[in-house]
Amino acid sequence: MAGIPLSHGLLVAVVLFALGLVGVLARRNLVFMLMSIEIMLNAAGLAFIAGGARWAQPDGQIMFILVLTLAAAEVSVGLALILALYHRLETLDADAADKLKG
């Protein structure tokens, strides 16, 4: 089994990461922003898996699992924040929460 060129695997990861980044920057809805962050985290996990596969070591998967843990914790807190914010501002517009304006 010859496998896949590492650069192709990483390319897929980068494309997914870039799409998530575009989503974070372009969308105003907080739920969509959080989803985009999940895409970026998943892309980072994919890059770890690809790297681990290249060297035939389990470390890549371990990093992926840690990223997964991080994602789980981040989503739970993030969603709770979105709910709290929605209760307070009655909107999901990220630009509405601009009290820190200088």
């Binding site: 980044l21 920057l25 990220a94 630009d95 009290k99 820190l100 304006k101 200088g102």
Partner: protein
């Protein structure tokens, strides 16, 4: 018994700590017990020490008690040590004894004041600091006491701090004396760098070896120490603070601004007399300043309306006498006059305070009158004090000490008759101004009712001080009158006796008779002008005399002069200096940060996506550097 010496300053200090730490939570009776008791115990210990010192004099006529070493820096090892010799013994006795009487008086005088505890705390601290000053074996420790009494003076002048005028008076006293203190510090540093020590005995030993008489360094050192003494003792040109210091409570004026603290300058000069003998020019300056001050202040006292200001100017004038004596080399006479002055001036202040208390805090003497019948004890005490101040012959203490000063001035090599003449004119004016106060306040028509009476705690100090003001002089009488020399023999070990000038006792008797005549003449003039109101006195109402009167009332215009010459140019310069180039730099920093703040704060949009975008841009730039560079 001499080992108890450290207790004399320690007890008032302990009293201060107790009163200060409890911060007015103690009941008034406990405050009085602590405040008066600590000084009283201190006075008892001082008496025991004195008895022990006189009956079994220690070797070399001094006793040194080292408490601890202050610091050790190379060869600089100042010790906290007390030195008891006849000079400090006299000072200590007067301070504790007069201090105790004034504390006792205050316990009634200040009753009901909201700052009762604060008052006694400050007074106790003052007594402790003053004792440290006079007992110090080291100029450094002396300076610590010196500043301590200055602090207490500030605290007590501004005691009734709710009136801004009192605060201003306190600040004035502090700042003016600070000028002298600064000179004194420079003098101490000069002495230390040149002679390598600040211990007084070593200094006095090394100075004559290091410097010939009249050398520039000795002159500079003596001049700088004199600067400190001028500030503390309110002599020209630093005398302006003392009349304003009367803003404090009357017992404070009696203790600090008459009997003890203001004579610290006299003590300092007497203590370092070796230095002044090495600098004849400065010693002559001391005498000249003393003579000028005593005349200026006496004429000012002649024109005051405020009861306490008369006594304040009188104090300046009497310290002028002491400086005159110091300058003439009559060291013992100066200390003798310090002692008698402490008695009669404290008596005058306390009697005046009792009068003013009984008539509802009225200070203007022309609104009083005829009070002798209503306040007989206060009248008798004041009369005794006035007689002693005016040096009425034979029966008063002031007569003997002032006579000693005048005789010292007459026989001194420098100035001689000129200094004597100044002292004589001063004696005449002194008698006039103090009996003016006596006649105006206690005789004539009664204009104001005496409302309250005073209790034993005011009466006892008045009585005791009256006795001292009369009898305190008999420890030293001139050759023509019994020739008692107890006082000068006591001080022999510390202060050199004046060079004996070959003068017949007859000359001395003549000089004394002239001085006595001047004093009596002064009383008579005061009687004619202020009680009988003879027709010749109408000359006082002419405009020229009135103008002179206003000039003297304002203390010869020194405040006005200093305001124009020093304060206003300084303020003008400070105003001018506000917008200088240095400021522009700092203003520029402030301006640029304000402008950059205005621009940078626009980037704070509060929009999360905006922040994220810049975060990404920054990360990309960092990656670009890592990848391409």
């Amino acid at each position: 018994m001499l080992a108890l010496l450290w207790l004399t300053p320690a007890l008032p200090l302990l009293g201060f700590v107790i009163l200060f730490a409890t911060a007015g939570r103690l009941p008034a009776s406990a405050v009085a017990a602590v405040g008066v008791g600590s000084v009283g115990l201190s006075a008892v210990i001082a008496l025991i020490i004195t008895a022990s010192f006189l009956t079994t004099p220690p070797e070399g006529d001094f006793y040194r008690q080292v408490l601890w070493r202050w610091i050790a820096i190379g060869s600089f090892n100042p010790e906290v040590a007390f030195r008891l010799d006849p000079l400090s013994l006299v000072m200590m006795l007067v301070i504790t004894f007069v201090g105790f009487l004034i504390h006792l008086y205050s316990s009634e005088f200040m009753a009901g004041d909201e700052g009762y505890s604060r008052f006694f705390a400050s007074m106790n601290l003052f007594v402790a600091a003053m004792l440290i000053l006079v007992l110090a074996d080291d100029l450094l420790l002396l300076y610590a006491g010196w500043e301590g009494v200055g602090l207490c003076s500030y605290l007590l002048i501004g005691f009734w701090y709710r009136d801004p005028a009192n605060g201003a008076a306190a600040r004035k006293a502090f700042i003016v004396t600070r000028i002298g203190d600064t000179a004194m510090v420079v003098g101490l540093i000069l002495l230390f760098t040149r002679l390598g020590t600040l211990a007084i005995p070593e200094l006095m030993e090394r100075a004559p070896q290091a410097w010939p008489a009249g050398s520039a360094t000795a002159t500079a050192a003596a001049a700088l120490l004199l600067g400190g003494a001028l500030g503390k003792s309110a002599q020209i040109p630093l005398q302006t603070w003392l009349p304003d210091a009367m803003a404090g409570p009357t017992p404070v004026s009696a203790l600090i601004h008459a009997a003890t603290m203001v004579t610290a300058g006299v003590y300092l000069i007497a203590r370092t007399h070796v230095l002044f003998e090495l600098a004849p020019a400065i010693q002559l300056a001391v005498a000249a300043i003393g003579a000028a001050t005593l005349l200026l202040a006496a004429f000012s006292a002649l024109n005051q309306h405020d009861f306490k200001r008369i006594l304040a100017y009188s104090t300046i004038s009497q310290i002028g006498y002491m400086f005159l004596a110091l300058g003439a080399g009559a060291w013992t006479a100066a200390i003798f006059h310090f002692m008698t002055h402490a008695f009669f001036k404290a008596l005058l202040f306390l009697a005046a305070g009792a009068v003013m208390m009984c008539i509802g805090d009225e200070h203007d003497i022309f609104r009083m009158g005829g009070l002798w019948r209503r306040l007989p004890l206060a009248f008798a005490s004041f009369l005794i004090g006035a007689a002693s101040l005016a040096a009425l012959p034979l029966v008063t203490a002031g007569f003997y000490s002032k006579d000693m000063i005048l005789w010292g001035a007459w026989t001194s090599g420098r100035g001689g008759p000129a200094l004597w003449a100044a002292g004589l004119i001063g004696a005449l004016v002194t008698a006039i101004y103090i009996f003016r106060a006596v006649f105006v306040v206690f005789f004539g028509e009664m204009q104001i009712a005496a409302r309250s009476r005073y209790g034993w705690r005011i009466a006892v100090p008045l009585g005791v001080l009256s006795v001292l003001a009369l009898g305190g002089g008999f420890v030293e009488t001139p050759a023509a009158l019994g020739h008692v020399e107890a006082f000068s023999r006591l001080l022999e070990a510390v202060l050199p006796t004046q060079r004996e000038v070959a003068a017949a006792p007859a000359t001395q008797a003549t000089v004394m008779a002239i001085a006595s005549f001047a004093a009596l003449a002064g009383v008579f003039i005061a009687y004619l002008v202020y009680l009988r109101r003879v027709r010749a006195a109408t000359i006082l109402d002419t405009s020229a005399v009135q103008r002179l009167h206003r000039f003297w009332l304002a203390g010869w215009g020194f405040d006005w002069l200093y305001d124009r010459v020093l304060v206003r140019p300084f303020l003008w310069f400070a105003q001018l200096n506000r917008d200088d180039a240095v400021d522009a730099v700092y203003d520029g920093v402030a301006f640029s940060s304000r402008v950059s703040h205005a621009y940078l704060s626009r980037t704070q949009t509060g929009r999360v996506r905006w922040y994220a975008g810049w975060l990404v841009a920054g990360s990309l730039a960092a990656i670009a550097i890592a990848v391409f560079a």
